[in-house]
């Protein structure tokens, strides 16, 4: 007891900063020391990634923008070059040298994901023929490797002659039953294929490698859409499998003219990007532009379509998206048939469609599946909802602050009565409620699903009823904010909906400061901004401004049989999508075209 008391007293009176000494810091690390030095494990050949520029970069000496850009570009290019050093070389003949290279490229033996399976070809070969199969554990299908690569080569192959043809071509033609195989000669190709889940076979005295398709990692199966639900229409959505996604589109759009080009983006880790279009329909200039933008992306890593979108769209600083992201294969198929270009990115569950016009962001894939009158009605509702979501809080503030005279007397008195107990100005009241709604919305996405239902209770009771009872907000305002929130959920495109959420605050402030005048000025400025905005060379307000006399499928939904032409703003190679008279069997149609009685 006495000792513990003394110890406590000592601790109280002395300063112990050993905790600070123990803290880990990256800044004090010696960058020349490799990250994988541990134990007695043998080290592969390493490359020093720390460039001279990186070492001196800590100085805060101001430099001109040109110098900064030149230095940063050089530094980045050097780093990229070092990361791939030796990969541009041709594959050697000696299998031991091949193995050494692989160990260096993949940081073996520390890196446990890469499997190098060494074996000898044939059961009774007189002169041993060494080989190795390289694949990534977890990305490749082990059953395929065992039964279609190792078993045929090790057990079923009988190389009895003294000097067999030891070439990869011979192996492909005679020994391996793989459905997709390709001979590559460069290390970069071999490495890239290993990383995509293929198995690469190296054989002694063969200066090349054999790539066999063995992709087979775990992924979610095709399921229902998460953000683009419809009543009438297909119920499948893209999944995290690149090839399954392209297949979903191809299954719908069965034409030999559907082309899928595959490119890679990323210097550190490569991500597959597929450009899909219909040859003979899509304007080649558009395809070239898409290809150009993608090929010029110089980044380390692109994880998802959302990231790629920001690298290729015309003005990423705008709130309105200039690329349409969709998770619905039917929408992609319909867009491709119109002359758009679709982009699939790695394992992303969203596909990008370019170019985009503002009006199509308010369309839903369901629109084409229902008759044109209900379709038109639904689009009208969506347009009203869009403007409600954008302007209603601002208009409410403007009317109550500046233009109360335009309200009927009874309504004005009702509003005044409901605000009698509220201590805040209207704009503060609205901002409070909008903030609460934004919180609910964000929490609704992040909240763990097991406690999800609580969000409804919190939202309905605390934010709604209790806030009114406490006299913080007026009941009418709750209706306004709830209607706004409801309206914003009606916007079919998530990115557009996000933009409207943010713009709403700008209009709210404009309405609070200058009433209708402020809202009108802001509206004009934003329309001007939009009118000058382009998506892949297409004005985003096309075909209304500039007017190109396109089909009736813009603001409203025209009858399918009268929308004979593809959107003219895409300049498709085939402008007619159907014959001018697409219902020739119909009596009214025949009558209107003067063909009545022509045939029976």
């Amino acid at each position: 007891m006495d000792m513990s008391f003394t110890g406590a007293l000592k601790r109280l009176l002395t300063v112990d900063d050993s905790m600070l000494d123990d803290q880990f810091s990256l800044a004090d690390d010696d960058p020349s020391e490799p990250a994988d030095t541990y134990g007695e494990t043998p080290q592969p050949e390493t490359v020093n990634f720390t460039t001279a520029e990186n070492k001196t970069d800590t100085s805060k000496k101001p430099v001109s923008m040109r110098t900064f850009l030149r230095r940063a570009t050089k530094e980045y290019e050097e780093a990229v070059e070092k990361a791939h050093v030796g990969q541009d070389d041709e594959i050697e003949c000696d299998i031991d040298e091949m193995k050494r290279r692989l160990e260096r490229f993949f940081h073996l033996p520390q890196n446990k994901d890469i499997v190098i399976r060494e074996f000898r070809v044939g059961v009774d070969t007189k002169a041993p023929w060494r080989g190795m199969a390289v694949f990534v554990d977890g990305l490749s299908d082990k059953n395929v490797i065992n039964s279609a690569i190792l078993e045929p080569l090790m057990i079923l192959t009988h190389v009895s002659e003294e000097n067999p043809r030891r070439t990869l071509e011979y192996v492909v033609e005679k020994l391996l039953p793989s459905n997709q195989s390709q001979i590559v000669n460069k290390w970069s190709e071999a490495v890239a294929n290993i990383l995509t889940g293929s198995t690469v076979l190296f054989l002694d005295r063969c200066n090349g490698a054999l790539v066999m398709e063995t992709k087979g990692w775990e992924h979610r199966s095709v399921s229902t859409p998460q953000t683009e639900n419809v009543v009438r229409g297909s119920q499948d959505a893209f999944t995290e499998n690149f090839r399954a996604n392209t297949g979903l589109v191809r299954a719908r759009l069965r034409t030999e003219h559907l082309v899928t080009e595959i490119h890679s983006v990323g210097n550190l880790a490569r991500t597959d990007v597929a450009i899909m279009y219909i040859h003979g329909v899509t304007n080649p200039k558009l395809v070239r532009e898409v290809r150009r933008r993608i090929s010029q992306i110089d980044v380390d890593f692109v994880l998802d379509s959302g990231m790629l979108e920001q690298f290729i769209e015309d003005r990423p600083s705008m709130l309105i998206p200039q690329v349409m992201a969709t998770e619905r294969p039917d929408r992609v198929a319909a867009s491709l048939a119109e002359g758009y270009v679709a982009l699939f990115v790695g394992n992303s569950t969203y596909c990008l469609i370019v170019p985009v016009v503002l009006w199509s962001l308010v369309h839903s894939s369901e629109d084409s599946n229902i008759r044109f009158l209900p379709g038109t009605f639904m689009r009208l509702i969506r347009w009203i909802a869009l403007f409600t979501a954008l302007l209603l809080p601002g208009l409410y503030v403007a009317v109550t602050n500046y233009h109360a005279e335009m309200l009927p007397t009874d309504l004005m008195l009702a509003i005044a009565g409901s605000r009698e107990q509220v201590p805040f100005p209207v704009v503060v009241e609205v901002l409070l409620m909008e903030f609460a709604i934004e919180l609910i919305r964000e929490a609704g996405i992040r909240i763990p699903s097991v406690i999800g239902p609580t969000i409804g209770i919190v939202g309905a009771l605390i934010i709604g009823q209790s806030a009114v009872q406490a006299g913080i907000v007026s009941p009418l305002l709750v209706i306004v904010v709830a209607t706004t929130a409801l309206a914003s959920f009606t916007v079919p495109n998530y990115e557009l909906s996000m933009g409207i959420r943010i713009m709403r605050f700008a209009f709210l402030i404009a309405g609070a400061v200058l009433g209708f005048y402020g809202i009108a000025i802001l509206f004009v400025v934003y329309v001007v901004r939009l009118s000058m905005l382009k998506s892949f060379g297409v004005p985003i307000l096309s075909p209304i401004a500039p007017s190109s006399g396109a089909s009736r499928d813009v603001l409203l939904r025209g009858p399918l049989w009268s929308m004979n032409k593809r959107p003219s703003f895409l300049y498709p190679l085939r402008s007619w999508r159907q014959k001018p008279m697409s219902r020739p069997w119909s009596a009214p149609t025949r009558k209107s075209t003067g063909k009545e009685g022509g045939e029976t």
Binding site: E405, L514, Y517, A520, I521, V524, V528, S531, S547
Partner: protein, 384 residues
């Protein structure tokens, strides 16, 4: 946008038509109804008709001259050919000054309207500054952006003006349009000429001609824009005079606002003047953007600037300062009525026609009458 793309920026006919309609129709919100009402009384509605017909004739004349002698050239380039560089600068300065004063006057009139009707407690400087910022922003977008904006907002203008006219139907008194000739045919005709400067189509034609996508449609553009804007003005004046007696119509400076205030279609549709702010703002912004663009573009052409855009902020500030110079609204109205409206026809009709006529004669005498300056015009064309 690449430089070459900017050089070839062309405005489609529909957008050009919309811009011209809005440019002329915006006068319905300004002092034009007041002055023609003072001048013609019950026959005030005839003045836009006569002015419109006169403009139409002159428009066709100028278009013919441009098409025949100066294809792909604007008024500054024609002036350079006829009067040399200094002559062209002088003419461009006259037009620029007119546009600048017009922008300043409209800005002050418009902001005074806003302050006196819907924002009585807001300082006019704030209202004006916000307005000029919006105008400057649009001008920065170039003639393509202005015309595209005009095309988008034209339906709002059309619906709004027609709505104002029709929603006052319960106050219409057709007999107030009598006597038909008001102050007399002579006075009405004189007023039509004096106040015809609101139809600046002719002057604008000589500036925007190289930027029209298809110059063969220029006649159609001119015809539709002049006829539609004339019809709108006539409709508004007829309604105004059917609602208010002629003696009163010359006393107010904001006819449309007075009309909008009269709307009373039951307890739920009354006092809708605030809603029409959207109409005034959109139309006035487009109009002022055109005049400010014209000012900066002409200066750029005259002095050989590669682009006019850097001048836009300075001109915005200048027109804002000019607009705020007069002590009160009355001074602005008097200045507008005395100089811009009354003598504006010299700038919008007389000078362009004189320059083009002299230019045509010079070309005819040189023997290269029908040659056009396409190549040179394209080479000199600024980034628009």
């Amino acid at each position: 946008m690449s430089q070459s793309a900017r050089r070839n920026a062309k405005v489609p006919g529909s957008e050009m038509t919309a811009m011209l309609i809005i440019f002329v129709s915006t006068n319905a919100f300004l002092t034009y109804p007041r002055y023609i009402s003072l001048n013609g009384y019950e026959a005030a509605w005839m003045e836009p008709v006569f002015s419109g017909v006169l403009t139409l004739i002159l428009f066709f004349l100028v278009e013919q001259l441009l098409r025949r002698y100066f294809k792909n050239l604007d008024i500054v380039e024609v002036s350079k050919e006829v009067f040399g560089r200094f002559g062209a600068i002088l003419i461009a300065l006259v037009f620029s000054l007119y546009f600048l004063c017009s922008t300043a006057a409209v800005m002050r009139e418009f902001t005074e309207n806003v302050v006196s009707t819907v924002l009585p407690s807001t300082p006019i400087l704030i209202v004006g500054a916000v307005f000029m910022f919006a105008v400057g922003y649009i001008v920065y977008g170039g003639i393509e952006g202005i015309c595209r904006t005009a095309f988008i907002f034209l339906p709002i203008l059309l619906v709004g003006l027609v709505a104002v006219c029709l929603m006052t139907v319960n106050w219409w008194h057709p007999y107030m349009l009598l006597p038909l000739w008001g102050t007399g045919p002579e006075q009405v005709l004189r007023g039509s000429l004096q106040y015809s400067s609101i139809f600046a189509n002719v002057l604008l034609l000589t500036i925007i001609y190289p930027h029209v996508h298809d110059t063969s449609k220029m006649r159609r553009i001119g015809f539709v824009s002049i006829v539609v804007s004339t019809l709108l003005l006539v409709g508004l004046m007829l309604t105004y005079h059917m609602v208010f007696p002629a003696a009163e119509t010359g006393k107010t400076s904001f006819a449309l606002y007075r009309l909008a205030r009269m709307i009373h279609l039951g307890p739920f549709f009354q006092r809708l003047e605030s809603i029409f702010i959207f109409l005034w703002v959109t139309a006035a912004t487009v109009r002022m953007a055109v005049t400010l663009w014209g000012c900066s573009y002409l200066l750029g052409k005259a002095f050989g600037w590669p682009t006019y855009r850097p001048a836009v902020p300075a001109l915005v500030l200048l027109s804002f300062s000019l607009g705020m110079w007069p002590e009160n609204w009355i001074q602005v109205i008097n200045f507008d009525g005395t100089y811009l409206l009354r003598w504006g026809w010299i700038v919008v009709f007389a000078i362009p026609i004189a320059v083009l006529s002299i230019g045509a004669m010079v070309r005819s005498m040189r023997g290269g009458g029908r040659l056009h300056g396409g190549q040179r015009g394209r080479r000199r064309m600024q980034r628009v």
